[in-house]
Amino acid sequence: MLTGEDFSARGPAAAIDCLRALQKERGYISDETLAEAAAILQMPVAVLDEVATFYNLIFREPVGKNVILLCDSAVCWMLGREALQSRIFERLGIAPGETTADGQYTLLPVVCLGACDRAPVLLVGETLHGHLDAAGVNKLLDGAA
């Protein structure tokens, strides 16, 4: 990534890099953060929001401390990703798109994570977990808690 770079020097072309960097720092892009970014990039807020809302991984709403990205594409579907989703719901009480009341976890569906040979898979934060089943989800949540 273009870390440490002065986004303002690149103007609107740096929009995605800038949003990604801010989100990494703050968890999500609030209206205030969006306005701040627009000022840095010297572009209208509405135009930047058009970019922000286009992409799956720019969050315009608050997310939990740990974002779980559960693959919902074909190979993971075939090999049992529904069971993972059910177990996550049983354990954390969240369906896709929801965040736990304590703000610890958000569950989001994601397209094929490019790890179909380890299906079904999910990402917690930056770590990929493969070959999972419901028991594996338990282990994962117990370990992380």
Partner: protein
């Protein structure tokens, strides 16, 4: 079996570092070529090698590079871009190459940028590939310290997720900080690409082949394939096989050899029903096509496409209607919304299939579905996303006609 692209990779997820890469002959091609051979000569070697793009289109790489105007003809900034978006369901080869041997990709970039006279390079990698991003950044730092990048700047751009970013002109818009919406062609990116400057976009695997071609020559590379097509190919197999994974084999290896010998055949209790030979954007092939060579021409002759060469295996215990619904849902969700047939047509397909799955399908829906490929196939939409979606729908409707009819008539999924 000669391994070329994966010979340094142990599969355990550890990255080959600069020293290990150099020991295996790495960066030899850079020393041999940069400043010694004319850029046009490097382009010629790649053209002679028969290297074809591994991103799904199979376009000859040499021809793509030849369309780049010379620096004399077009002074100013020029870009070389690696497409590492890899969001096509069923595809996991580029991740393997980047996590395992990132220097191989960097060496390919240095050579390719030299050949097309680019002074800046980008690797557009999907943001969820954290390990690959870390491997690339570490490798770039090592290569810079060792002085092998010359004057070339290589940026790693982490994407923020949309399948359409993999379409090369949408990728350019995304790199410019905009919505990833495809651009009209012509002009080709070689003429007007990133920020309007001459630009080449190549897939990770394509670029990884370049150092080996430069080092060992075009003839050697041609000899690696088992049929008319050149090189080795990074195949992948997923689904209910015994050993799902990445397999580097000669271009033209048959589907049967790949699935039965290398992926270890089907798991106990499951039978192979059909395959998507090259990712979600390719058409189904049945068991009777297993002896087809995995090559661009071979797969086309069999009625499908080589695509990314990563095979998804559908077994006899999985509902094909549900499988196809999952694929169509993906395409509907990922449509960028720019052109009407794709924006409105794909969600329509998705809704019909969703209804069928829950027993709400009607007989007339089957005719509506069968009509869709003619409206969203090649040439009917702005880019290749919807035609890719139509490949599995069109072939699936024919191959699994009975399953579709049963869903509609019995109003239940037999697999549920």
């Amino acid at each position: 079996m000669q391994l070329v692209l994966t010979k340094n990779i142990d599969g355990g997820g550890k990255r080959v570092d600069f020293a290990a890469y150099a020991r295996s002959g790495g960066y030899e091609a850079v020393r041999k070529v940069v400043g010694k051979l004319a850029p046009a000569d490097v382009v010629q070697v790649v053209a002679d090698s028969g290297l074809a793009g591994c991103g799904g289109g199979g376009f000859p790489t040499g021809r793509k590079w030849q369309a780049m105007p010379s620096r004399a003809a077009r002074p100013g900034p020029r870009y070389f871009i690696v497409n590492a978006d890899e969001m096509e369901p069923g595809t996991f080869k580029d991740r393997y190459l980047m996590e395992g041997d990132p220097h191989q990709l960097l060496e390919g970039i240095v050579l390719a940028a030299y050949a097309v006279e680019a002074d800046e390079a980008y690797i557009f990698v999907r943001g969820e590939y954290f390990q690959a991003i870390a491997a690339l950044e570490a490798a770039i730092a090592e290569a810079q310290a060792a002085g092998v990048l010359g004057g070339l700047t290589i940026h790693v751009h982490a994407g923020v997720g949309r399948y359409i970013c993999g379409e090369e002109t949408a990728l350019l818009n995304s790199l410019e900080g905009k919505r990833a919406i495809p651009r009209a062609k012509p002009p080709l990116p070689q003429v007007s690409g990133l920020f309007g400057c001459p630009t080449i976009v190549n897939n990770v695997e394509t670029v990884c082949n370049v150092p080996h071609i430069v080092r060992h020559g075009a003839e050697w590379f041609r000899g690696l394939g088992v049929g008319d097509e050149a090189g080795t190919k990074i195949f992948g197999v997923s689904g209910r096989v015994n050993r799902p994974g990445v397999y580097e084999l000669p271009m033209g290896t048959s589907l049967r050899v790949l699935i039965e010998e290398f992926a270890g055949g089907m798991r106990d209790g499951f039978q192979l029903r059909a395959v998507l030979p090259g990712g979600a954007s390719t058409g189904f092939l049945g068991v009777e096509k297993l002896d087809t060579p995995m090559s661009v021409a071979g797969m086309a002759a069999a009625g499908s496409r080589l695509g990314t060469g990563n095979v998804m295996v559908l077994d006899d215990k999985t509902c094909p209607v549900g499988f196809i619904r999952n694929l169509q849902h993906f395409f509907a969700q990922e449509s960028c919304g720019w052109c009407a047939p794709c924006r409105d047509g794909l969600p329509w397909v998705d809704q019909i299939l969703a209804a069928m799955e829950t027993g709400q399908g009607r007989q007339s829906d089957l005719a509506v579905l069968a009509d869709m490929p003619g409206r969203m196939g090649p040439g009917k939409t702005f880019c290749g996303l919807a035609p890719g979606a139509m490949a599995s729908l069109e072939t699936g409707l024919k191959m699994f006609a009975q399953d579709f009819t049963r869903h509609v008539q019995e109003r239940v999924c037999a697999w549920a």
